[in-house]
Amino acid sequence: MSHDLLRIAIVAAQLLLLAAMSFSIVRMVRGPRAQDRVLALDALYVNAMILLLTVGIRSGSMLYVEAGLIIALLGFAGTVALSKFLMRGQVIE
């Protein structure tokens, strides 16, 4: 019984995270300004990383945790580069 509960909980969590990702995408498309889009991208990659963790729990593979770590790393670099670009108009001075 408790295992059915766990399966339902994981599917519900994945649906909630998909909704969260679609909210971020709506904010990224609507803007209205560049900083809103960068903020939405930041929220999008964090939600994607959490979604990967639920997929990992569902499939029982530790590899998804490493994939989540890589997403967090690349997302950080991307957001910092974009913020720097908004500030100065170029990434590397």
Partner: protein
């Protein structure tokens, strides 16, 4: 039969509650990102997902894999440490850039720079 059936009932219920809590926090964070009025309000909302959302999901993952493998696994903490370190840095950079852009345009919504800055 899958690997999830190997979990004892108490661990299954604990993991289910933690997974749901984590997803709920991430969902509320993104909802705030969508609904709030201006940029400086919106910047606060997704941090709910990056702090509590990831915390509960990592706790669920640690519980699940530790019980399945029969030994403590704290590998997932790396993600938590990394996000805790990087989120304030990215958001401070982003908000400073946004403030700079708003001041450049002479927007009435943000205070102008004080003389000592």
């Amino acid at each position: 039969m899958s690997h999830l059936d190997a979990l004892p009932p108490w661990a299954a219920i604990l993991v289910a509650v933690l997974v749901l809590l984590g997803a709920l926090f991430a969902f509320v964070g993104s909802l705030g990102l969508l609904r709030l009025k201006n940029f400086y309000q919106r910047v606060h909302a997704p941090t709910l997902g990056t702090t509590l959302g990831t915390f509960f999901m990592l706790a669920a993952s640690i519980t699940c894999f530790s019980v399945l493998h029969g030994r403590p696994i704290f590998y997932e903490i790396l993600i938590g440490v990394f996000l805790t370190l990087t989120t304030p840095i990215t958001l401070m950079l982003l908000v400073r850039a946004a403030l700079y852009r708003d001041r450049e345009e002479g927007s009435a919504d943000v205070p102008q720079a004080s003389p000592q800055e």
